[in-house]
């Protein structure tokens, strides 16, 4: 089985074969013979080059969060990552077509109402976080389908604030 992983902007390809607790892994043209055991649903103990290591892992949103000996890694699995960033860095749009805030904060202004037709990059919402105002823009030309918050509400990262219906 082959895996493609991404850390920050770098891509890594791994080939893996397993039989019981034995794994043969190819990474960057190097082969590793590994003996691995799951010691809990979040921890793997593995023997690699004669060295025993314990990795703690958790999975969320198509990402592996890994910690080994105090070093943390966020490993993305691009093949499973369906959410895409269409527009600027201040906007997240998922497959459900909504906008959310990149950081938790308070909604200070909602500039659209349900049924409005919006242009690409039109400001939909302004979120204040840490005394900074962030304009949340529409990533696509769309019709406003649903607004889940009102002005003054607190929003968390990733929560759908305005749901959009894409215009073809």
């Amino acid at each position: 089985m082959e895996h493609e992983f991404k850390i920050q902007d770098k891509t890594y390809k791994l080939k893996i074969e397993s039989k019981g607790n034995s794994y043969k892994i190819e990474l960057d043209g190097k082969r590793y013979d590994i003996d691995a055991e799951l010691i809990s649903s979040n921890s793997i103990s593995f023997l690699m080059d004669g060295q025993a290591l314990t990795a703690h892992l958790a999975e969320r949103d198509g990402k592996f969060l890994v910690n080994i000996n105090g070093e943390s890694f966020c490993i993305e699995k691009p093949e499973e990552k369906k959410r895409k960033n269409f527009a600027g860095e201040h906007t997240h749009v998922g497959e459900k077509n909504f906008v959310s805030t990149p950081m938790p904060g308070k909604i200070v202004k909602i500039s659209v109402k349900v049924g409005d037709e919006v242009r690409k990059n039109q400001t939909l919402v302004i979120v204040e976080a840490m005394k900074m105002e962030n304009e949340i823009k529409s990533p696509i030309p769309a019709k406003v389908k649903k607004i889940n918050f009102k002005e003054g509400d607190l929003v968390d990262t990733g929560q759908p604030i305005v749901e959009l219906e894409p215009k073809e």
């Binding site: 960057d28 105090g70 890694f73």
Partner: protein, 500 residues
């Protein structure tokens, strides 16, 4: 002693206070907002009551609700922790009126030390050195200009009613003054509801040294030596230690006596901290009195051997001072690192989310004051402090190494924390050499970034992720329930008593 104590706080400090109450045999009442229902302090207290919606004003700052819960459950004392209502004279006054003991000083002394200008005047009258600066606030720009010229640039602008760095601004010259004042006033108004600001001399490369004081209600006070809290980011302390490498015995004695004098001048009782700035020539200046148990109190507890929270409760209950100054000694060295839910890669913005996995460090000389657990949801509504990692060792170099190991052993998955950043701080050569001044972070860690690909265990992390994926794939194929995984299954190829 009290019959029951209500803890008007949340997170790690609420947990800390509950533990002290348990040891004293006093039942506890926790309060929680709707988002904190599953918090650790709720689980630990004898009784826990919903206080209101998440917004602090409607929950942990809601004086009416808190008082009515205390009365209904017959709590005869309230511990405020730090933050929230800890330094709010109105709350203290209300407790006094309702016949509930506020574990802290009285409303009058709280009002005095809470006002920076008033407390400066009081301290100056008591002969305590203060930083040269304005006598009071003003709305007149010309007065600011005149004062600044007299004090000499650079000066620092501060909010009269404030703390935590809000409204603070360094002003290098007269042409920066006017814009700094209007920005500082705006910030002060939005943070504290009061736009009074004043000017002080800006001291270059100072250290932040504070003294822990305990005072009873009868005018007896002792100090429990210093804490150095010079490592700050945006005027917020992030690493604290005791003793400070900058003090020798005679300076320590002098500053300690001054701290006790300051507490007496304010008629303050219970636990309080007197903050000083120490300049490069070892002159010290009074900054302010922190009228509460402080975040960094554990380092003093480890080095001096006094439980400060229990001392607070005993003193509030009316006990006479039970410590003698000449019997208090510092032993060894302690360091604290504050673990925040912040993203070091995104300008240290607070983050929220569910903690998917957590492993706490343990071992000789390690203490972890913690308000979170695996499965806990960190919300956006409150201060992003998750826990405090504290170490004690026989000397400073050992304590620094112990902290580095403890930070490496602390694993939190699912939410970004400042652990990686703190590891670089406590292993930095300036830190190890004791060159800790308040500009330590801007000097050494501007644009700090954790480099993913320079990490030692990169390949291993990728391999672990691949193994986990493979395992899930195999499990799915065989329809194995991954949830109910038993470690005994993993021990398949071992037999008891045999090695292979």
């Amino acid at each position: 002693m009290f019959n029951k104590i209500l803890i008007a706080n949340r997170g790690e400090i609420a947990v800390r206070v509950i533990k002290a109450c348990k040891e004293l045999g006093i039942p506890t009442v926790a309060i929680f907002s709707t988002v904190d229902r599953n918090s650790l302090h709720v689980q630990m207290a004898d009784e826990a009551v919903l206080v209101g919606p998440p917004a602090p004003l409607e929950s942990y700052l809601n004086i009416d609700s808190i008082i009515s819960i205390a009365k209904k459950l017959k709590a005869d004392a309230i511990h405020p922790g730090y933050g929230f209502l800890a330094e709010n004279p109105a709350f203290t006054e209300r407790c006094e009126k309702e016949g509930i003991v506020f574990i802290g000083s009285d409303s009058k002394s709280l009002a005095l030390v809470g006002d920076k200008i008033q407390s400066r005047e009081t301290m100056q009258r008591a002969g305590i050195p203060i930083i040269p600066g304005m006598k009071g606030s003003s709305k007149d720009i010309n007065e600011f200009k005149k004062e600044a010229k007299q004090i000499g640039y650079p000066v620092i602008l501060k909010a009269s009613g404030g703390g935590g760095g809000k409204g603070m601004r360094k002003v290098r010259s007269e042409d920066e003054l006017e814009s700094s004042i209007s920005a500082g006033m705006r910030e002060a108004r939005s943070a504290f509801g009061d736009d009074s600001v004043y000017l002080e001399k800006y001291i270059e490369h100072p250290r932040h040294i504070e003294f822990q004081v305990l005072a009873d209600k009868f005018g007896n006070a002792v100090h429990l030596f210093e804490r150095e809290c010079s490592i700050q980011r945006r005027h917020q302390k992030i690493v604290e230690e005791t003793p400070s490498v900058a003090l020798d015995d005679s300076l320590r004695k002098k500053m300690g006596e001054t701290a006790v004098k300051a507490i007496m001048a304010a008629n303050y009782s219970n636990a309080g901290t007197v903050e000083f700035l120490l300049d490069e020539d070892k002159n010290f200046y009074f900054l302010e009195v922190n009228a509460r148990i402080q975040v960094e109190h554990p380092i003093t507890e480890l080095v001096v051997g006094v439980d400060l929270v229990k001392a607070q409760i005993r003193l509030a209950a009316g006990e006479k001072m039970f410590l003698k100054q000449d019997q208090l000694k510092q032993r060894g060295h302690a360091i604290e690192c504050r673990i925040y839910a912040e993203d070091p890669e995104n300008n240290f913005l607070p983050c929220s989310g569910k903690i998917l996995f957590m492993k706490e460090p343990t071992g000789p000389g390690i203490r972890h004051d913690c308000g979170i657990y695996t499965g806990f949801e960190v919300s956006v509504y409150y201060d992003p402090i998750l826990s405090k990692l504290v170490v004690w060792a026989e000397d400073r170099p050992t304590a620094a190494r112990r902290m580095l190991t403890a930070l490496s052993d602390l694993t939190v998955l699912g939410i970004k924390t400042t652990t990686g950043f703190l590891k670089d701080v406590v292993s930095h050569s300036d830190f190890l050499e004791g060159k800790t001044t308040t500009d330590f972070i801007p000097r050494n860690f501007t644009d700090w970034k954790e480099k993913e690909d320079n990490k030692k265990y990169l390949n291993q992390a990728l391999i672990a992720a691949a193994i986990m994926s493979q395992n899930k794939f195999v499990s799915k194929g065989q329809a194995v329930e991954q949830e109910s995984y038993s470690p005994w299954q993993a021990l398949g190829k071992w037999e008891i008593g045999m090695r292979n």
